[in-house]
Amino acid sequence: MIAQQLINGLLLGAVYALFAIGYTLVFGVLDILNLAHAAIFMLAAFATWSMLGAGLPLPLAFLLAVVLAGILGVLLDRIAFAPLRRRNAGTLIPLISSIGMAIIFGAIARGIYGVDERHFTLPLLDAPPMRFGPVTFTTVEISIFALAIVLMLVLTYVMRATPLGRRIRAVAEDSVAAQLLGVNLEHTIGATFFIASALGGAAGILTALQYNSVTVDMGGQIELKGLAVIILGGMGSITGAVIGGFVLGGVETLAIAYNLSEWRDALAFGVMFLILIIRPRGIFGKRALRAA
C-alpha cells in the first residue's frame, strides 16, 4: 500500500509543482502575485478540450493550447499590470487588478462553455492501467509525470543557460540596473509572463487529462494550494516551488494513508506552518530566483 501511496503522492505533487513554478516566476521578477494564473490554467484546459473536439491530435492541441496560454499571459500583463507598472502602483493594486482579470476570464469561460463539467473522449484515457507488483498507474499518469518533470527541467535550463534566462534573472535582481545594462524591461517581463502562463496552461491541461475533467472553477481549487507551495518553497524560487509541490502532494497523500483523511488539508498546511516557523522565508528563501 505504501508503494502505491508514494506513486499517488508523486503524481499529485508533479501537478502542484508545475502550477506553482509559473506562479513563483512572476513573483520573482515583479514582486507581485498574479492571481489570474489559475484562470489561465483553466482556459488552457478548455482550449485543449475544444481543439480535441475539433479533431486535432492531442500533441498538437496540447502545444497550441500551451502557446495560447502564453499569449494570454502576455495580454494579461499588457492589460492588467503594465499600465500600473508605468504609474509605480506598488504591489497591492496589481494584485487587485489580477483578481479582476481572473473574474473576467472566468466569466468568459462560463459564457462560452457553461457550468457543466466537460470530459475528453480519448482512447488514451481508456487504456487499461499497468500493474507492477503492488503498484498501479495509467499511461496518462506516467506521461503526465514525465512531461511535468521535462517541463521543469527545460525551464531550469532556460533560466540558467540562455540569454533570456539571464535577462529575466537580471530584472528580478534589480530592474533599474538591468535597464542601465541594456536589458529591455518590457520585453523581458512579457517573456516572463509568456513562460509562466505557458507552464500554468500546461499544468491545467495535464490536470484536466489526469482527472478527465474540465470545469470553470478548476483553477480555484488549485490556487490556494499553489500559493501555499510557493510560500513554502520560498517566494520567487523555482526550485522551492518544485520541492514545495512534492512536499504538499506527499503530505496530503500520507495523511490519508495514516488514517487522517479528515485532517488532510489541516495537516498539510500545519506542516507548512511549522517549516515556515523554522525558515520564515521558505525552504529556498526569497530571491533564490537570481541564483536559479
Binding site: 457550468v115 500493474r131 488539508d265
Partner: protein, 379 residues
C-alpha cells in the same frame, strides 16, 4: 391512515397513467389573477452545475404554463428565478427581497441545504412559505412551520438502498468514502453508516474528502487494502464519477453504492464501464413511467439539448405543486402555507406526492443500478 393514503396515491397514479392527456380547463378561483413565485437557485458559482438544471426546469415550466401544459385554472402564474451565485449571503439577500416585495407568496429553493439553513429563517420570520427542491440534509423542514420540500431526504432513501442491496449481495463488510464539508454528502455518509450498523455490517474503513477534490487515489488505495465487500460513496456527481473511475483503475472488484448525488444520466459515460452495477438510491428515474415524466424529459431535451437530471425533475415537480396550489385559489402566503400542509396528492414527474406531518415529501424512492448508457431498476 397510511394505507388509505397509499391507496389514494395508487388510485390517482392509475388514473393519471390511464388518461395522460387529462388537464382541467375549468376556470379556478384565481382565474385572471397574476401570481409570481420566487425561485432562488445557484445559476452561477460552485453549485451552478445543479442550479442551472433547476433554472432550466423553471424556464420549461414557464413555457408549459403559457402553452397550458401546466394547468393553473386560468391564473397567470410565472416563476421568477434569481441567481444566488452559490453565495450564502446572496441567498439571504434574495430571501429578504422576496419577503419584502409584497407580491411573492411562495419561495422555491435554494439549491443547497447549507444555504437553506442560512436563508430559510428570513422567510420564516416573514411567514413566507418555502418549498425546497434539493435540500435533502437533516433538519431542513424543522427550520419553520411553513418550510416544506419535494426532495426525498437521504434519511428516506438510504434505508431502502441498504435493505435492498444487503438482501441481494449479503455483504458483511463495507468501507465508506464521503465528503465531510457539504451538508448533503455528510448526511449521506452519516446515514449510510447508521443503516449499515443496524444491518450488522462491519465498517472496515471510513475516508473523507472535500468538495472539488479530484484525486481520491490515496483514500482508495487505503480502502483497497482493507478488502471491503462494498464501497459506499457519499458524493455528488463530479466527485462520485472520479471515485468510481479511480477505484476501477486501482482494480476494485467490490460492489459500489451511493445516494441521490450519483443520479445523473451521464454516470456511465463519465465514470466509464467500471460504473456498471453501481447501485444508486434516488428520488427520480429518467425512465420512470409516471404520468408526464416522459413528456417532461422529451421537452427538456428538446429545449436544452440534454437529459434532465434529478435537480431539474424535482424543480419541475415543485412548479407543478405550486401550479396546483394556484389552481385551487391559494395565492397568498398564508393560503400557500395551509395549502401545502393540506395538500392531498399531486401528480408530478416524481410520481404522486404529498407531504407528511413534518412537511417532508411522501413518495417512494427508486433503487437503480448503473447499466451501459444509463440506469435500470435494481432487481
Amino acid at each position: 391512515m397510511k394505507r388509505s393514503l397509499l391507496f389514494s396515491i395508487a388510485a390517482v397514479a392509475a388514473l393519471a397513467v390511464a388518461m395522460p392527456g387529462v388537464a382541467a380547463t375549468v376556470k379556478g378561483p384565481a382565474a385572471g389573477k397574476t401570481v409570481k413565485i420566487g425561485v432562488i437557485a445557484d445559476v452561477t458559482g460552485a453549485a451552478a452545475v445543479y442550479g442551472v438544471s433547476q433554472k432550466n426546469a423553471y424556464d420549461l415550466a414557464n413555457d408549459d404554463l403559457k402553452s397550458g401544459r401546466i394547468d393553473t385554472g386560468g391564473a397567470n402564474l410565472s416563476f421568477d428565478v434569481q441567481d444566488a451565485a452559490s453565495d450564502g449571503n446572496q441567498v439571504v439577500n434574495l430571501f429578504q427581497k422576496f419577503t419584502t416585495d409584497g407580491t411573492t407568496p411562495l419561495v422555491l429553493g435554494p439549491t443547497l441545504s447549507g444555504e437553506a439553513k442560512r436563508g430559510d429563517p428570513v422567510a420564516v420570520r416573514a411567514s413566507m412559505p418555502v418549498l425546497g427542491t434539493s435540500t435533502t440534509a437533516d433538519g431542513i423542514t424543522d427550520l419553520g412551520p411553513c418550510v416544506f420540500r419535494v426532495s426525498l431526504s437521504e434519511a428516506q432513501v438510504i434505508p431502502t438502498t441498504v435493505a435492498k442491496t444487503h438482501a441481494l449481495w449479503k455483504y458483511k463488510t463495507a468501507a465508506i468514502i464521503y465528503g465531510d464539508d457539504n451538508a448533503f454528502t455528510k448526511t449521506n455518509g452519516d446515514i449510510f453508516k447508521d443503516q449499515l450498523d443496524k444491518a450488522g455490517v462491519q465498517i472496515v474503513d471510513t475516508e473523507t474528502f472535500h468538495q472539488g477534490d479530484k484525486d481520491f487515489q490515496a483514500s482508495l488505495t487505503k480502502i483497497q487494502a482493507k478488502k471491503p465487500d462494498v464501497l459506499v460513496i457519499g458524493a455528488l456527481f463530479p466527485e462520485g464519477t472520479k471515485i468510481i473511475e479511480q477505484a476501477t483503475k486501482l482494480g476494485f472488484k467490490t460492489h459500489m453504492m451511493g445516494g441521490n448525488g450519483l443520479n445523473s444520466s451521464q454516470m456511465y459515460d463519465v465514470a466509464g464501464p467500471g460504473a456498471r452495477g453501481t447501485v444508486v438510491g434516488a428520488a427520480w428515474f429518467l425512465g420512470g413511467g409516471y404520468s408526464g415524466n416522459a413528456a417532461f424529459v422529451a421537452n427538456y431535451k428538446k429545449k436544452f439539448g440534454s437529459d434532465p437530471d434529478q435537480f431539474a425533475a424535482q424543480s419541475y415537480a415543485a412548479a407543478q405543486v405550486a401550479a396546483e396550489l394556484v389552481r385551487a385559489g391559494k395565492i397568498t402566503k398564508a393560503d400557500m402555507c395551509t395549502g401545502l400542509r393540506d395538500l392531498h396528492i399531486v401528480q408530478t414527474v416524481l410520481g404522486p406526492i404529498a407531504f407528511d406531518a413534518n412537511r417532508d415529501v411522501r413518495s417512494a424512492p427508486v433503487i437503480l443500478q448503473i447499466v451501459k448508457g444509463g440506469f435500470a431498476y435494481l432487481h
